[in-house]
């Protein structure tokens, strides 16, 4: 069987598995966020924390709860890393305190669901910090993203009320009913596939050639599963999903791709179910699927064809450099496209070694704003806002106020939507422009020419969109990139969430508009095509100059 065929079979298997999960998982998510019942364990949590889970919060209150929760998470994570040498070293190898800059960058990175890492997990973090700090944030940041999406959907469902639900209740439900049970199952599957999960310290062994090699243990599988499923991407090891202990074989590889696509692709169903029109969910999932399939096909094409690669590529017959030979080029291409489209950022191959156009697609995927299918929750609210923009552009000046899912798109809504899609490009371009223009930014670029430019763009696009995958080849451990990167990640996560919640609050206050002859039907292929077009044009024009000077210049050289 040729490797191309194997790649397409993988994609086919993924599509089948995701399609099978779409309805049951989507319905389950909708049920979690519409029920008023609390499980016993949830009631115990509410009692212990003194939370009243049945108070409906307005969007401001919901937002403040979310920001407060995240702020505490950042501080806690920062503290744990700084104090790990004293407090948290009793299992596994002993580690010194993480340097302040790295600790800040990492704390922000894990709380914002970015999981940008400029440290090697196995030689920087103790097992306790990995388990009770980083992995916990993997759950929490995923839950936060998901509940913001649910609050946004409630904005469409609810009428003449300012309330969007209860943040604390939502987060608890998300973790207890969705993320934890799925993670337990997933971790067992991964361990069955060969991923490790133990508290063993370093083993130093002598290889056949007589050299010494250090083998690291650790609670890997339990962190690996939420890393993929929560679209976090922060690996236990520096090599991430290319490490045999995280991702031992082709089966675990495709299982991990499945995990990272699972919830984002099922959320549109929950949306359709909550707004009581499943076809709306199908339209959204179709938009996501089209972009995903095209990106996978494009990336696979450029990785499999040597013409646009470098000299080494032509000699090898395919773009072998930096790929993981255990999986092969096609599996790496599918993984690379999926991880950059979902804000996961886990990698099973070296993105810096992708062909210029292949790497360009990975960069473009992230620049789309993580909406196809996007990060857990973040993809949903992102695509809903783009759908609103599309409805507005399509219904431009027809002489009535356009509407989406029975809610009018008035200047207030448009203001929030515009601020939402304005934020990320502004942050990205400003940070990248500053880094390229200044000495301190340039000095960390190891590769000259267009490739170096792509590396800088990739770093900030990845951080601003909370993806977290790295192009490498850039000295991101420099203070400039650590600090600026931290700020970019914070803004890239929370500014859009503020606008999304504000939009949701504004929608929830409206009364529903009955659909009429003047209403654009948002369940049709026409609308799907229009949204895809709006997304591509918006992103294409924004990043075209940078893409032209980076990947295009390199690929066409």
């Amino acid at each position: 069987m040729s490797s191309t065929l194997a790649g397409w079979l993988q994609v086919g298997l993924l599509v089948a598995a995701l399609a099978a999960c779409y309805v049951p998982l989507g319905n389950y998510i909708a049920k979690i966020f519409t029920t008023n019942q609390h499980w016993r364990v949830e009631r115990a949590i509410f009692k212990a924390t003194g939370i009243n889970p049945d108070v409906d919060q307005g969007w401001g209150q919901y937002l403040r709860s979310m920001l407060a929760f995240s702020a505490v998470s950042v501080l806690l994570l920062y503290g744990m890393q700084r104090l790990q040498g004293y407090l948290l070293s009793f299992v596994g190898p002993h580690m010194a305190a993480v340097p302040a800059n790295t600790a800040f960058n990492t704390a922000v990175s894990f709380t914002t669901n970015t999981n940008w890492q400029n440290y090697s997990g196995e030689s920087t973090m103790t097992y306790i910090v990995q388990m009770s700090g980083l992995a916990v944030q993997n759950f929490m940041s995923a839950a936060v993203g998901l509940v913001v999406a649910m609050a946004m959907i409630r904005g469409f469902v609810r009428s003449r009320t300012g309330t969007l639900g209860n943040f604390w209740s939502d987060v608890t439900h998300a973790v207890v009913r969705l993320l934890l049970p799925l993670s337990v199952i997933g971790a067992i599957v991964l361990m069955a596939g060969g991923a490790i999960d133990n508290f063993a310290s370093y083993h130093t062994i002598t290889t056949l050639s007589g050299a010494h090699q250090t083998i690291v243990g650790g609670p890997v599988a339990s962190q690996e599963v939420i890393k993929e499923m929560g679209n976090n991407g922060g690996g236990f090891f520096n090599a991430n999903s290319a490490h045999p202990f995280e991702n031992p074989n082709p089966f675990t590889d495709i299982f991990e791709i499945f995990l990272l696509l699972l919830i984002p692709f099922a959320t549109p169903r929950a949306f359709g179910r909550m707004v009581k029109d499943n076809k709306q969910g199908y339209a959204i999932v179709a938009i996501m699927a089209i972009i995903w399939v095209v990106a996978v096909a494009g990336l696979s094409f450029f990785e499999a064809h040597t013409a646009t690669g470098g000299a080494a590529t032509i000699a090898a017959g395919h773009a072998a450099e930096g790929t993981e030979v255990r999986f092969g080029t096609p599996a790496c291409s599918v993984f690379a496209a999926s991880t950059t489209l979902t804000s996961t950022g886990a990698v099973n191959c070296f993105h810096d070694s992708l062909t210029p156009f292949g790497g360009g697609i990975a960069l473009f995927d992230m620049a789309l704003g993580e909406i196809a299918p996007g990060g857990i929750g973040a993809g949903m609210y992102g695509i809903l806002i783009l759908a609103i923009v599309t409805v507005f552009v399509a219904g431009l000046m027809v002489g009535r106020t356009p509407e989406y899912i029975g809610k009018k798109i008035r200047p207030t809504e448009m203001k929030y939507a515009a601020l939402y899609f304005l934020t990320i490009p502004v942050i990205t371009l400003t940070a990248a422009g500053l880094s390229i223009a200044t000495k301190v930014g340039q000095s960390a670029i190891f590769n000259p020419g267009p490739h170096g430019l792509t590396e800088v763009m990739y770093a900030f696009v990845s951080e601003a969109n909370n993806n977290g995958s790295a192009f490498a080849g850039l000295g991101t451990a420099a203070t400039w990139y650590q600090t600026l990167g931290g700020v970019v990640m914070l803004l890239g996560r929370f500014a859009p969430e503020i606008f999304a919640l504000g939009l949701a609050g504004s929608l929830a206050r409206q009364s529903p508009v009955p659909a009429s002859a003047g209403t654009l039907d948002t369940r049709t292929p026409l609308f799907v095509g229009m949204v895809v077009g709006v997304i591509l044009i918006l992103v294409g024009l924004t990043y075209f100059p940078a893409l032209a000077l980076g990947p295009f210049a390199e690929g066409l050289h």
Partner: protein, 394 residues
Amino acid sequence: MAVTTTPQTGPEAGKPAGTEQRRIGSGLLDPKILWNSLPAAFKKLDPRVQLRNPVMFVVEVGAAITTYTAIFDDKQPAFNWTIVVFLWLTVVFANLAEAVAEGRGKAQAETLRRTKRETVARRLIDWRPGQTGTREEEVPGTQLQLGDHVVVEAGEIIPGDGDVVEGVASVDESAITGESAPVIRESGGDRSAVTGGTKVLSDRIVVHITSKPGETFIDRMIALVEGAQRQKTPNEIALNILLASLTIIFMLAVITLQPMAFYSGAPQSLVILVALLVALIPTTIGALLSAIGIAGMDRLVQRNVLAMSGRAVEAAGDVNTLLLGQDRHDHDRQPPGNRVPAGGRRVRRGTCQRRAAVVHGRLHPGGPLHRRAGQGEVRSAGAPGGRVARGRVR
């Protein structure tokens, strides 16, 4: 804020209604209007005016920068000056579209005023009820006073608002109400009120003028047209927000292009950057926004409906609760099938004396009439004597 029907104006105004579907153009592409609007278009080059439209403001600033560069930079003069000319033309044409929009309101008011001036009233001197052979004099419609009596015969236009005090006539009120069937107006009772600008089709009536000069129905319409400023519609405001944010993004994309281009060893000239920016930002929509607004109003004018602003057009488009008013006399004339449904309710008893039915996306017979406080308001100026029925729009 109002949508009202205009009286028919011009030479065809005297023809019986219903014989000819006449459409009035707004004269958007009338060379005369374009020419007259040209000075206003240049006046609008003032940056303080341009600031209201961020997209065109950016283009104007870009045009100024390229002009400066073209003057002081000797490299590639042909290219630079071409760009300069194109940029300035873009700004001026955008202004022209808006100037035409503003000039239109004035032109309409002028047409209305001319109608009024040209109407000749046959005033009766010292008229007493039942008296015949009273002396009459011809005065312009504008000079009629409260309490005057005028005589109107078949084929003549009623010169002012008032009550019929003698005779019976069929009156074509289509200019005001849009209703093509003539109505009967007679002295005494409820059917005595007539409106200036409507036309007597048969017989002869004497009308007692009940409005002061300058306060007739047509006068109020003229005031509305003249006072109507080009208000931005809610959609236009939302669109402006979208365009402004796109402009910001693309400005950043171009600004950050330069350091990247430097890094890549290919710095670009200022003129090229400005040209790229203008190509990226939504210049076309930004420039034509006001023209799009006019197109909407133009459509209504073609159907003999006068929209004071694009805002009114949109308010009308957003109607999903409609109060269908029916004049009681007309109601009595209706065939039974057209009668207001049983759920209809009386609105504002004593003011309009109308029956109304509520039509809704899902029919709410007998539901509360004023369901929600609205954002906009639609008026139909159909009531005799200039009484106005209001419908609330959600």
